[in-house]
């Protein structure tokens, strides 16, 4: 059994403007094809960071723009429904968006233009990862710390590991598996973090872990 302590990290994003904008679905498609991976990542995860108090299902930026600015409800819904959690690579998410948009455009459907100033502005981000002073040596310490860490720290361990750091599961599950808590690891792995607020997620994780402690 692994006895390595869990070192909590945290993250911050610096947002870049790419100077690329789209005023209709065709230009959105062109943009999605050429922007860096970090841009696709940013636009599918920004809502989680900036609107983490809102529930349920924060949309991605593309879906929000199509639906609320261009009034393309059906297309917006299709883009919003892309199940980010099932993808292991950002390139695959990009390709899914491309497929949906190409399908829409090839059918000769309505192509509206955004009003001036409300075009889609492509952005990207650099993620800075830093250590925090929090270290858990066992399950009870871990539960205690879950309450103290920032939303940014929770976000890093849950979202970044599987999608951007090429790991099979989130950091918490990986560690729990390592200390022999297979069932807990599975439970946390099966959460869909995209359909819950970050504070809601914190509560849920705490509840799952606390139940285990009570059983002991």
């Amino acid at each position: 059994m692994n006895t390595t302590p869990f070192y909590f990290k945290t993250e911050f994003n610096l947002v870049y403007l790419l100077g690329i904008k789209a005023k209709n679905p065709k230009e959105l498609l062109e943009g999605i094809k050429i922007v860096p991976e970090s841009s696709i990542y940013y636009h599918t995860h920004r809502f989680l960071h900036q609107h983490h108090y809102l529930s349920p299902e924060p949309p991605n930026d593309f879906a929000y723009w199509l639906k609320n600015i261009l009034n393309l409800s059906e297309l917006g819904e299709k883009i919003a429904a892309v199940d980010i959690v099932k993808f292991k690579k950002i390139e695959d998410i990009r390709n899914e968006f491309i497929k949906i948009l190409e399908d829409y455009i090839s059918k000769g459907k309505y192509i509206p233009e955004a009003p001036e100033g409300e075009e889609f502005y492509f952005k990207s981000c650099t993620t800075f990862v830093l250590s925090t002073p929090y270290v858990a040596h066992n399950l009870s310490e871990f539960i205690e710390i879950i309450d103290k860490i920032s939303i940014n720290s929770l976000y890093f361990h849950i979202f970044e590991a599987p999608l951007r750091l090429n790991k099979n599961e989130n950091d918490f599950s990986e560690w729990l598996r390592g200390i022999g808590e297979i069932e807990l690891a599975e439970k946390l792995s099966n959460l869909d973090p995209y359909t819950i607020t970050l504070e809601g997620l914190r509560k849920k994780i705490k509840k799952i872990l606390s139940e285990k402690i009570c059983q002991i």
Binding site: T10, L17, V129, S150
Partner: protein, 406 residues
């Protein structure tokens, strides 16, 4: 002046702890801010607050101001207006003088920073020194860059492209540039007079002073008396709502008494109000922050029906007070309001009327919008987020890649 630790009660200790963790990574690096004035104007106001807070976080930060005479500042004012898209005549001679003053300053100001952080166009050409002195150079554009005059844009671009990174306040201001462009929105200070909590007695006494009835709905727009803020449009909105609700309207704001256009707008607004006792037109002198704070806190709904807007921080101020806000989707406002989540975005008088009626009829929904708005401002538009972005910006000059481990 508040201490950085005072903000923990508002944003949480975890956020302040993280600022210290980030600041620690800048140990040994000096940041030198350079702008064109130490008092007056938005940039000086921001630096006055940010520099002491950065110091308290342990960052080595300085602030220097360039020198210029009346002629120089009349040229920079013309450049400012041209960047706002106004049709102004700037001669070759003007531009040469602008450069001459910048070069004199470049020779006089000791460039002691490892990072030279230049604010706005006035000192932009200091970057010519970069070849000689090296160092990292940042240019922060605080102004609306949506429709710049092309010639001036081209003139400035020659300098902007010499910097390591440019910083803009809203995505609409991004240009095609050779260097990375960072998005850093402005912020409000929750502990300033304009935004701090106020006792109910203070709010009540200010309402009484202005003859406003606290028992009937109050619709408010806080802004300068300026055509671009569409105050007469706001009165038209009020009249349409008034048919259904016994409400009051407050139009409050400052403006320089020597600004002939401001006075003209004020007169037109008064004429449009036509002595309606429920329309309160309040011309506020400078340093009326407590009054603005109280009027916002007393309001049922806050409007920002601007036709053009730089960033529109009055929206953030209103949302911070958990007020339901209805605003135009211009400038930086869409960054602050996500339609139907944290406020309402409208495009016309009719749309604004429709949503005011809805919010007055559905106070629970209005309350939810205000609460979401406050949470959104707390997470994204307070000075602590601004500090975090600056720290990251400084660090970004020394680290490349999508994911950086520090």
């Amino acid at each position: 002046m508040p201490n950085i630790r005072d903000y923990a009660n508002i944003v949480g200790q975890d956020i302040i702890d993280e600022l210290f963790i980030l600041a620690e990574k800048l140990k040994g690096i000096t940041i030198q801010n350079i702008n064109s004035t130490s008092v007056g104007g938005g940039v000086a106001e921001i630096l006055t607050r940010m520099v002491p807070l950065l110091k308290q976080l342990g960052v080595n930060v300085g602030w220097d101001v360039i020198k210029g005479n009346e002629k120089f500042f009349s040229i920079t004012k013309k450049i400012h207006n041209a960047l706002h898209g106004l049709n102004v005549q700037i001669t070759q001679e003007d531009l040469e003088y602008f450069l001459e003053v910048n070069r004199e300053n470049a020779n006089e100001i000791p460039l002691y920073g490892d990072i030279i952080f230049v604010h706005d166009p006035q000192p932009i050409a200091l970057v010519e020194k970069k070849k000689e002195v090296g160092k990292k150079w940042l240019w922060r554009c605080h102004i609306d860059f949506t429709h710049p005059n092309e010639e001036i844009e081209e003139f400035l671009k020659k300098f902007i492209n010499q910097y390591d990174t440019a910083v803009f306040s809203a995505p609409v201001f991004a240009r095609k540039l050779d260097i990375p462009q960072v998005l850093i929105s402005p912020s409000i200070d929750p502990l300033s007079d304009k935004n701090k909590e106020l006792p109910q007695e203070v709010i009540d006494s200010i309402l009484e002073r202005f003859g406003i009835d606290k028992n009937r709905p109050i619709i408010t727009q806080i802004s300068r008396f300026d055509y671009l803020k569409d105050p007469t449009g706001v009165i038209k909105v009020y009249r349409k709502v008034k048919k259904y609700f016994d409400c009051q309207l407050i139009l409050a704001g400052g403006g320089a008494t020597d600004d002939p256009e401001g006075m003209k707008v004020l007169e037109e607004v008064k004429a449009e109000a036509n002595n309606d006792p429920d329309i309160h037109i309040i011309f506020l002198p400078p340093a009326s922050d407590i009054e603005i704070n109280a009027l916002q806190r007393a309001s049922t709904i806050i409007l920002q029906k601007s036709l053009r807007e730089g960033f529109g921080l009055t929206v953030a101020e209103a949302l911070w007070k958990a007020k339901p806000v209805i605003a135009s989707a211009v400038g930086g406002i869409p960054l602050q309001i996500t339609h139907k989540y944290s406020g309402i975005l409208t495009y016309s008088i009719e749309g604004t009327v429709y949503y005011i009626k809805q919010l007055l009829n559905e106070p629970d929904y209005a309350k939810k919008l205000g609460e979401n708005g406050r949470e959104h401002i707390k997470n994204n538009f307070l000075i602590t987020r601004h500090l975090k972005d600056y720290l990251l910006l400084f660090l970004s000059l020394f680290h490349k890649g999508d994911i950086v481990y520090l």
